[in-house]
Symmetry: C2
């Protein structure tokens, strides 16, 4: 078995891992639809999004690896960290759920990523700004696709409406974490690396209000629950996803099996 790699506590590195891991883990969840969507068109669309996200993860994790000493490559970061060193918000790791759950989570996270990439185009890190330019186009498409489906399901049958309402009730509490401020965010903002999460809260709420408002879905109240994946404290689902992802690398170090 391949041993885990150690990741430094550098805030800029943590900031990059939060972005890269969100793309990696959400991409992993969307990839679970490959061959399992209800129609071929959606199978292809969701798998394409998974590929966009895994490509974004690859770019950001490559940058993150350059901030480690010794330098790590993107595969080591993707496959050989311990669970507590993954920095995605919990929202990204929740099991794929049904199709309504999938499209609503996509709407929430692609809106967030879109706003984030918009700001990251101005990053003081030119490589990150370059990734953001390309990723922004992809995130815009992901958001549009998800919003179309929220509309279709919210305005569809009684069953589809019931399912999108259930997904909203389940997913909404996990949004708050995206906007919690902390030292990692403060350092990134001070260095011009990227925005603090809290700065994206108002524009995110405005865009979500628009998406949900089109089908008269009221935005739930935010309770006191706080998920904590971006600080490395994950839900019980994270272990399973990592077991699947890491099996090959851990069992055949450096090998291609």
């Amino acid at each position: 078995m391949q041993a885990s790699i150690q990741v430094p506590a550098d805030p800029a590195l943590q900031y990059l891992l939060r972005i890269g891991d969100t793309c990696l883990i959400l991409g992993q969840r969307l990839g679970e639809w490959c061959g399992h969507a209800p129609v071929l068109e959606e199978d292809i669309a969701l798998t394409n999004m998974a590929l966009d996200l895994i490509g974004q993860a690859r770019g950001v994790l490559t940058l993150a690896g350059q901030r480690c000493n010794p330098v790590l490559d993107e595969d080591q970061l993707a496959f050989l960290r311990d669970e507590r060193d993954y920095r995605n918000p919990t929202l990204a790791e929740l099991p794929r759920g049904d199709f309504a759950f999938t499209v609503l989570r996509n709407a929430m996270l692609s809106t967030w990523l879109k706003l984030l990439w918009e700001r990251l185009r101005e990053s003081s890190d030119a490589d990150l700004a370059g990734i953001a330019g390309k990723a922004l186009k992809e995130a815009r498409y992901h958001q549009q696709h998800a919003a179309d489906w929220v509309l279709r399901l919210g305005d569809g049958t009684e069953e589809s409406r019931r399912r999108i309402e259930a997904a909203l009730a389940q997913l909404w509490p996990y949004a708050a974490e995206l906007f919690d401020a902390d030292a990692v965010d403060d350092a990134a903002e001070a260095a011009g690396l990227g925005p603090a999460g809290v700065d994206l809260r108002e524009p995110w709420l405005a865009e979500m209000a628009e998406i949900l408002g089109e089908v008269h879905l009221p935005m739930p109240q935010q309770g006191s629950f706080r998920s904590s994946g971006k600080r490395g404290v994950h839900s019980e689902h994270m272990g399973y996803i990592l077991t699947e992802m890491q099996y090959l690398q851990r069992t055949y170090p450096g090998g291609a099996w």
Copy 2:
């Protein structure tokens, strides 16, 4: 549960199903690598190939559905047939195996598909000829990618050599089916729809000899075993893949869950 659709015995329809189902089922198998490849780059490459293949399947199954009465759409054909009505050669449905198995099967089937698409550009069915033009470019890339990996594994470590040799011994007996002549092929050739399988045998053997020859892998002798997936008599693996693929459509007819 949604009932199965019935498929007419028309030879031209069967010919199209053989092509579309090969792409569909191989795409399904490659999609199983999404999130499970040993490195992110291969994860993305294999999943991209899965998407190309599912896109090709969608195109060909759409044409096939137009030959049914009443007309069927590509999703009905993809998801609602009984096992015996799927017409892919058995080679496509074998479980994904290890990475060496995956790349060698890709080399065998992408070489076959490439030769087939080349000929189908001249099909008397203009829609099929159109699909072939685009698919040919994709198949060429798939073949190149697979051949590169056969070289890398065949010329790599003792372990990788052992694995590619084992994959060759396992996979080779399933190639013969691709070239067996029968009434479906004869009818397609007579109508100018596309080539008989037997016509692709010599060029296929020549290209495989080149790929395998580069790493001094001797081409196995062909025994008397004949698989029969393209006549609807599948291996025991086919049922599992269909169970996974069909679950959503069967359980929620027409629904998006």
